[in-house]
Structures are given as structure tokens and as C-alpha cells.
Amino acid sequence: MSTTAQEAPPGADEALQADFDAKIAANQRIEPRDWMPEAYRRSLVRQVSQHAHSEIIGMQPEGDWIATAPSLRRKAILLAKVQDEAGHGLYLYAAAETLGVDRADLTERLIGGRQKYSSIFNYPSLNYADVGVIGWLVDGAAICNQVPLCRTSFGPYARAMVRICKEESFHQRQGYELLMRMMEGTEGQRAMVQDAVDRWWWPSLMMFGPPDVDSPNTRRSMDWGIKIDTNDDLRQKFVDMTVPQAEKLGVTLPDPELAWNDERDHYDFGEPDWDELKQVISGNGPKNAERVERRRAAHENGAWVREAATAYAEKQRSAREVAV
């Protein structure tokens, strides 16, 4: 149910806190109408709404290429994928609303620049190879991030993640398949794929957030079960998964330090440019302003549709009342 979380009566906090802690310790889910600490609720609102915004803004880099898809098959696939991103945004807004916030309000916070979304969508998509690389690397990184979140402690968030992960696998595979086709093509097509990989590799690694030493909230979020793995662990996992895929595809990942480490049983890799991540997060990425402006325009230009739907529903209601 999507009913708002309840406020605790004064004085009862300690027993409620103990009950909450016991549920978390027993790996049980917290549901919307359970008591929860205000800091837990606030943290979740921030995390879930940023996640929702990322899905919605994430429609833009690929949406740009729907009209110029190279075939009807690719167009149908890309349309379905972008529609999925909209769906993912809505699952997550619905999960956020169970915490007592309002979706329209969250949208206003996004277009007012008061809430953030994933840094990755502030990079431009320059050609159709980018569509493939976004599916492979960006959705691949998203899967790494999201699969553990299916076990997150807040029920509605975990359930939304289950749905999303099921659909995300299609996103990654369509991207990889697109790239495989291009790699079978001309020299020029292979060069396009390599160029797109060069541009998206480091931003994809940055999707996991700052290094653990710079991520002060990680500990608390992990104690609450709303974060399952640290940023660095997920980044490592992503690199380990992706390197063999790059080899199969026949592209080079743009990192001279990338090498298998027998002792660690992991790939070693270079340090992303954390200053760049800070810049992009604070609004100075190549596309920040454009992405938010486009979202605002879509929201404002869609106002008449929302008004018309409301008016239509009202008219239907009155017609029914007259008929009775």
C-alpha cells in the first residue's frame, strides 16, 4: 500500500526505534506504514528520488537518436528501451511517494535544480555507436548498482528494483548486440565503436560515485540496508565483468593501467578523474543545463495534456451523475 509513513507519538520513540533496529538486524523489510527514523526516511527520499530522476533524464541521450535510427528494427528497440526508462522512473516515483512525498513536487525539485540525478547523463551522445555503448556500459553499470538494491531494506524500493532489473537486462544486451553488428562492419564503423567506448568508459566508472574514502554516508546507509555494497566494491565488480566483454567485442578500454592481478583475483585499473566527477555533479558537465531545460520544457509543454485529462475525467463524472 502506498500510505504515508506514520509519525510516532512523543515518548514512544525508543521502543519504536528498537523495533525498527530489530527488523533491520533480522534482514526484514521496512514497509511504508511502519515507524522509521526520520533520518532513514529522508535518506531514502533523497536516494529514491535521485534514482527516479536519473531514469527520466536518462531518456534524453538516447531519445535523441530515435528519429535517426538506422533501421526500423533498431528504432523499435530504442523506442521500447526509452519507454522502459520512463516506466522505471514511474516505479521509483511511486516508491518515493510511499515515504510521504509528492511526485509533482519531486519533478519541480528536479527542474528547479534542487535535486540531482546520475552524473552520466550529462555527457553527450554523438552518434549511433553511443546508443550501443550506453546500453552496454551505462546500463551494465546500472545493473551492477541495482541488482544488490533488490535486497534493500525498504520494501517498495526493493520491489521497484526487482521489476527494473528484469527489464534492464534487455537494455544491456541490445546495446552489446548493436556493437557486435557494428564491429562486423566497415573499418569506419569499428572506429566509431572504439571512439564511443573511449568517451564513455571513464564516465561509466564514475557512475558508482566517489571513492569510499570520500563517501561519508556510505557506512550509515549500509547499516540501514539501503546501500548494500560500497562504491569501490561495485566499481571493481563492474570492471571485472566488463573487461572480458570488451575483449570479445574487440575493443580496447582506454586505461593503460588495466591489468589482471593474480594475487587480488581482480583487474587493477586506473583512477578516474574525480575532479571531473565533482564538476559534473555540481552542474558543470557538458550537458547539465540542456538536460534540465529539456525536462522543464517537456513538463511545461505537457501541462495542457494533464489539464485536458482532468477536464475529461470531470466531464465523465458529471455525465454519470446526470444519468443516475
Binding site: M1, S2, T3, Q6, D19, E31, R33, D34, W35, A80, Q83, D84, G87, L90, Y91, A94, E97, R103, A104, T107, E108, I111, G112, G113, R159, A160, R163, E167, R296, H299, E300, A303, R306, E307, A309, T310, Y312, A313, E314, Q316, R317
Partner: protein, 102 residues
């Protein structure tokens, strides 16, 4: 008019809970919620949002405010009465091994 936060019309659409029957023979199961101006549009949106991959053969939408629910805490004494009635389970009754078909 220059305020950055001013956005156009924000109609208050009520919240609907969405239930989907996965296939014939199964119960409708709660899958999530959405906002819509009325039930008909809620159904339409639920189709687009929750059944893009043949996840259902039937959808119910219910105004969230029309759902009557048990108390907020899902493990409270409300469900205690069933806890001590072990005789409601078949395993409560010892039957010799050689009695067939029971």
C-alpha cells in the same frame, strides 16, 4: 512570473493501487501504484506501465483511499489469535504410518 520554481497547472490526481492477474487461474496481485484523473485512465496507464511484457491478462485499479487496511505495524497482536491454534494444521494429528491415503 520570473520565479524559477513556478510550474504550470498541477492537477491533483488521486492515487490508484494496481493489481495484475499474471495469467488465468492466478489471483490478482498488487504490483504498484500510479496517479490518474479517473479509473478509466488509471487502467490505461497501468496497462502501459505494468504490463509492457505480457505480465498480465487482467488489471484492477482501486482508489488508494478506498483501501481499508489493518494497523500500521504488520506484526502486531492483530494476528496473534492464529498463533496458538496448532490444531488447525494437519500435522497436529499423529496417524500411524500404516494407515493409507491420509
Amino acid at each position: 512570473m520570473s520565479n524559477d520554481d513556478v510550474t504550470p497547472a498541477r492537477p491533483e490526481w488521486p492515487l490508484y493501487e494496481v493489481f495484475v492477474r499474471g495469467k488465468r487461474g492466478l489471483n490478482h496481485v498488487h504490483v504498484g501504484s500510479l496517479h490518474a484523473p479517473d479509473g478509466e485512465m488509471a487502467l490505461h496507464n497501468a496497462r502501459n506501465l505494468y504490463t509492457r511484457r505480457n505480465e498480465g491478462v487482467s488489471i484492477w485499479v482501486v482508489l488508494a483511499e478506498n483501501v481499508t487496511a489493518s494497523s500500521p505495524d504488520e506484526k502486531d497482536p492483530y494476528f496473534a489469535p492464529s498463533g496458538d491454534k496448532v490444531y488447525r494444521h494437519p500435522t497436529f494429528y499423529p496417524i500411524p504410518e500404516d494407515v493409507p491415503h491420509i
